[in-house]
């Protein structure tokens, strides 16, 4: 069966993408940011996921104000990078996993999360920047990607609790998918930042640290944070952080924090990054063998049913 093995939290600041695309990664300002992801790229290279579910938000690229879906799941075979006004970012087109995405959609909708299904979508920096930070700048992305776009642009975004519970439903969906797949889930956006109005430039490192601490140790506490607290304490656009709770909800209650990085600023934003691993690795083999057995049994039963119907 498919299994979510780890979660990655990462900011998705557009200027990080611009720095990559314009060859500025060695400038001291940007080196400070990129150096924080060196270990993460190593971790990802070792982890070799088959599929990445990337929770992100669109920034007036694929969705304007004509349609504002709260949760939109990318079920397409591929997702080209969007033109955000400077031409599409020079990154490879992302290959989707339509079969797993359709399976997730079907499972979570029956679990009462009414997703929008998107069969044609371009993806902006919200998705491509975290991909670069974790996978570098390869000619082809090394895994398939299922985008989950969350509305955090128009208030109100979904609550933190709703996001966390959606994460749990996604996990259940993934684990009921028969193929053996290693899945990593990304929560992106944040951390504290405000880019609009006279209060633009707001950063709250104390809040960010507490958010990261609780993300690992006490995510349920984070699910009780009301929107007003995010906006007041972490900036109007800091509310993007609710997307990290989808990632967290899809993991075990107890996880190992294997890496964390935090720096201020990248452009107008506090950059936060965390890698959380589930603890069931050792049990994996046994469970897989068990799953294979039960699949065989189910197949035998099905064959029997079909055979008896034919009589």
């Amino acid at each position: 069966m498919a299994r979510i093995i780890a979660g990655v939290g990462s900011s998705h600041v557009p200027a990080i993408g611009a720095a990559l695309d314009n060859g500025k990664t060695e400038e001291p300002y940007w080196k400070r940011v990129f150096s924080g992801f060196e270990k993460s790229k190593q971790w990802m290279a070792n982890t070799k996921p088959d599929v990445a579910i990337v929770v992100y938000n669109d920034h007036a690229s694929a969705f304007s104000v004509e349609m504002i879906p709260t949760f939109a799941l990318g079920c397409a075979a591929e997702f080209p990078p969007a033109d955000e006004g400077w031409g599409p970012r020079p990154v490879p087109t992302l290959k989707g996993h339509p079969a797993l995405a359709a399976h997730i959609a079907q499972s979570v909708i029956l679990d009462e999360f009414d997703l929008t299904i998107v069969n044609k979508m371009e993806v902006d920096h919200g998705l491509t920047v975290p991909m670069n930070l974790l996978f570098g700048t390869p000619k082809e992305w090394p895994c398939q990607v299922i985008p989950l776009a969350v509305n955090v642009v128009m208030y109100p975004p979904p609550t933190g609790h709703r996001c966390y519970m959606l994460g749990k439903a996604i996990r259940k969906a993934v684990e009921s998918y028969p193929e053996d797949l290693k899945v990593v889930i990304f929560g992106t956006g944040g951390l504290s930042h405000q880019i609009s109005g006279p209060r633009a430039g707001l950063i709250n490192s104390k809040w960010d640290k507490s958010f990261l601490d609780n993300l690992t140790k006490d995510p349920k506490k984070l699910t009780r944070i009301p929107h007003i607290d995010y906006m007041r304490e972490a900036g109007a656009e800091g509310i993007e952080m609710v997307m990290w709770l989808i990632m967290r909800g899809a993991l075990d209650d107890k996880v190992d924090e294997v890496y964390r990085f935090y720096t201020v600023p990248a452009s107008n934003t506090a950059v936060g990054h965390i890698i959380l691993e589930n603890r069931h690795k050792a049990a994996n083999k046994d469970k897989r063998a068990h799953a294979a057995k039960s699949r065989q049994a189910a197949a035998r039963k099905a064959a029997h049913r079909i055979a008896s119907k034919g009589r």
Binding site: Y155, R199, I203, M231, R232, N268
Partner: protein, 148 residues
């Protein structure tokens, strides 16, 4: 009918893009979205007031756009991810817009970000309520941000 009061109206220097502003600002945001196409950018630049007639804007919205009053655009229902497209059409970096909205020079704004950003201390509330009990002084929190 008086507009509804929201808890987030108390956050200083902030125009929350809520469903009501999204409704009011539909024209502003669709105008900004149109600037993603080069032919529209050219048409807008050739005659701004004429181009704006294509969108269902109030006189106040039109005025804010023509004057590049970014805070007023936000107040009247513009969203920053959309209005930033207008800034890009004018050839400005995002930091230029941020400096405009905060009433500082771009240099001052950039220096503030490098020093750890705008502190939340003193910037939480208009009314003075809802202050956390353990707030530190402004200078302290700034220096702690700097160290990171």
């Amino acid at each position: 009918m008086a507009p509804a009061q929201h808890d987030y109206d108390d956050i200083p220097g902030t125009f929350v893009f809520d469903a009501e502003r999204s409704r009011q600002g539909y024209g502003i945001n669709m105008f900004c979205m149109s600037l993603m196409k080069d032919e529209n950018r050219k048409a807008f630049k050739a005659n701004e007031a004429e181009y704006l007639k294509r969108f269902n804007l109030t006189p106040a919205q039109t005025d804010a756009i023509l004057k590049r009053d970014y805070n007023r655009m936000l107040e009247l229902g513009g969203n920053i991810y959309f209005t930033a497209k207008l800034g890009a059409t004018d050839g400005h970096s995002f930091q230029h817009l941020a400096a405009l909205m905060t009433g500082s020079s771009q240099q001052e704004y950039a220096a503030m970000m490098l020093a750890g950003g705008r502190s939340v201390e003193g910037n939480r509330t208009r009314s003075g309520k809802n202050k956390p009990g353990n707030s530190k002084s402004k200078s302290k929190s700034k220096s702690s941000a700097k160290r990171k």
